[in-house]
């Protein structure tokens, strides 16, 4: 279980350009933090750095567990979900096959995937190839793994963008439950999240 993230004097660069410098940020269990800022400010890069996909230029990202610090790699492999702006779905495959892979790969089961699909109102779509689904429907499929395989840290990159109002409200309920269980949310978003959250400005 992740108790908190502590980011200290972090610097991130993409190519030759330094995006973020001297960033300090703490996220505690049960808390949602929204990264806000103009396009290209480095919100996505920060999420990817916390996910261990980008190596920071300097500074450190520490993940605190019940028994002290957990190495970033272990914490990510067992405890983190990253929802990027791509949905990681193969357009030629059946929606259910793709959801089942995503859920099992992140530690869930076929039963938990089924329950999550029913809750998100996706059952009617599961036999269709992903190609036939709209952007919002694809995003809802990608969000299934959040509730079907419980992991403490949600890294969300513009998760609401393709969702309509009803789906945003449903996703808000999921986030509230996640925070109530002691989960953490770090999200990049232009619109406010439908949960109580703290906003951090990332300057360009």
């Amino acid at each position: 279980m992740i108790k908190g993230i502590a980011i200290r004097s972090l610097a991130l660069a993409r190519g030759d350009r330094v995006l973020i410098e001297g960033l300090d940020l703490d996220v505690a269990s049960g808390e949602a933090v929204v990264l806000s800022g103009p396009n290209g400010a480095g919100k996505t890069s920060l999420l990817r750095a916390v996910a261990g996909l980008i190596r920071p230029l300097s500074g450190r990202i520490a993940i605190e567990g019940d028994l002290g610090e957990i190495p970033l790699e272990d914490a990510i492999a067992r405890e983190a979900h990253l929802i990027g702006h791509q949905d990681a779905l193969k357009t030629a495959r059946r929606a259910w096959d793709e959801v089942l892979f995503q859920v099992r790969w992140t530690g869930g089961t076929a039963d938990s995937a089924k329950a999550a699909c029913a809750r998100m109102g996706l059952n009617a779509l599961l036999d269709l190839p992903v190609r036939k689904l709209s952007a919002g429907q694809r995003r809802r499929l990608a969000l299934i793994r959040l509730s079907a395989s419980p992991r403490g840290l949600w890294l969300l990159d513009e998760p609401l963008a393709p969702l309509d109002r009803v789906q945003r409200a449903r996703f808000g309920e999921l986030m509230i439950e996640h925070l109530a269980r002691g989960g953490l949310i770090l999200a990049a978003a232009h619109d406010p999240l439908p949960v109580k959250s703290r906003t951090i400005e990332i300057a360009a």
């Binding site: 996910a51 261990g52 996909l53 990027g84 791509q86 193969k90 030629a92 892979f101 790969w105 992140t106």
Partner: protein, 221 residues
Amino acid sequence: MSGFAVILRRELALSWAGGGGPLLALGFFVAITSLMPLALGADAARLAEAAPGLAWLVLALASLISLERLFERDYEDGALDLIALGPAPLELAAFAKALAQWVTTQAPLALAAPVILAALGAPWRLAPVTIAAGLVGGLGFAFLGGVGAALALGSRRGGVLIALIVLPLFTPPVIFGAGAIEAFAAGLDWRTPLLLLSAYGLAAAALCPFAMAAAARNALS
């Protein structure tokens, strides 16, 4: 289900059904072989003599066909991020990808090779050694090909780049594979080249996942 089983199942399903798969490589193999008599002339004795070497060369080239998609499709749709965040290390996921490539492409090619040889006029008694060489040599093709596919991630014209990276590395398996079949046909010692081929294939399977994972991480960062 363990992480490795989950990813292997997905990779098998993707490379079996996801466009191409064994049929594409087999079709290429058969089409090129059927052009051989037209290019070399209808002299049956000459064709039969050249058959093992030619068939082996086409086997190596056919294995290149579906490589471009091995990592690229997951890179483009964001699935590689998901794979990098999974329970199994990226090295193991890369091993599963190359293993699936071997099962769905190399193994069918190896099983089809004796038929192609026979069509070119080579004797059927070459079938067992051809299948054996195709299977172990295919390990080398699949895993080295995977390294090429991972290194070419994100580049335009990745397919050409993969061929340029991988074809020089295919030299030893081509020499030992064709050598084993020809030695068997001539009644010479065929075990040595087959063992060397096996050593090459197994070494590739053991080492290449590390190179694939490093190249994939580099592409993601």
